[in-house]
């Protein structure tokens, strides 16, 4: 009897775990793009945010009602960290917030994945990274195109829109 109880508990926990996996399929379901319709009754509504949260998240005001609950919670958590950021970081957050929110779930997943990969592979110094980005952007378009892995050799993911 006790064994059966434990087996059922384990099965339920595993089922919950599968549901919580951050794979593309589940995040795509939960993390709808900006084009998603207004989500009625989802909280917190924009009006329920504090004045401070509204000021920090102002670039998202027009899109707030289309965000899934989980994404609203994420932005609230980021807003909590905002006062502790350096002025330059705050300025970047303000500038990038809307662009980030407007990316498709697949693009956000890809950016996170690339960020993690770079961190894993002994991330170069910020100065070197900035320089590398400048050099890369200065390459002729054809040369840059040649650096994009072909679908047969690269990861099986769609090329994001720029």
């Amino acid at each position: 009897m006790r064994l059966r109880f434990l087996a059922v508990l384990l099965a339920l926990a595993m089922a919950a775990g599968v549901g919580a996996q951050p794979n593309a399929a589940s995040s795509a379901k939960k993390d709808k793009p900006k084009a998603a319709a207004v989500k009625k009754g989802v909280r917190p509504a924009w009006a329920e945010l504090t004045a401070e949260q509204q000021a920090t998240l102002a670039p998202l005001k027009n899109d707030w009602d289309t965000l899934e609950p989980e994404r609203r919670q994420k932005w609230i958590q980021i807003a909590k960290r905002y006062p502790r950021m350096k002025p330059l970081e705050q300025e970047r957050v303000q500038r990038r917030m809307q662009m980030w929110a407007n990316l498709s779930p697949e693009q956000r997943r890809q950016a996170r994945e690339n960020y993690k990969q770079l961190a894993k592979a002994k991330r170069p110094a910020n100065k070197d990274l900035r320089q590398a980005w400048a050099e890369y952007q200065a390459l002729p378009p054809q040369e840059r195109e040649n650096l994009v892995p072909s679908p047969s050799t690269g990861p099986r993911r769609s090329k994001p829109a720029n």
């Binding site: 109880f5 059922v8 508990l9 339920l12 926990a13 089922a15 919950a16 775990g17 549901g19 919580a20 951050p22 989980e70 919670q73 994420k74 958590q77 980021i78 960290r81 950021m85 970081e89 970047r92 957050v93 990038r96 917030m97 662009m99 980030w100 990316l103 693009q107 890809q110 950016a111 996170r112 690339n114 960020y115 993690k116 990969q117 770079l118 592979a121 170069p124 910020n126 990274l129 900035r130 590398a132 980005w133 890369y136 390459l139 840059r144 195109e145 040649n146 650096l147 994009v148 892995p149 690269g154 090329k159 994001p160 720029n162």
Partner: protein, 54 residues
């Protein structure tokens, strides 16, 4: 009892996942490199080749 335990585990896993997303999104939003750099697979390849050459 069983349902409460399973729900508790589920909620904990969800909160862990949210914390991870908040952490990495904060880093991406404040990073020295623009978000475009992390969306550009050509640039990711460029960095790999550069690192291999050094």
């Amino acid at each position: 009892m069983l349902a409460v335990a399973a729900f508790g585990i589920y909620r904990w896993q969800e909160s862990q996942r949210l914390a991870e997303v908040v952490e990495i999104d904060t880093q991406l939003l404040t990073d020295d490199l623009p978000i475009d750099a992390y969306l550009d697979r050509g640039f990711q390849n460029f960095l790999k080749k550069r690192a291999a050459e050094q």
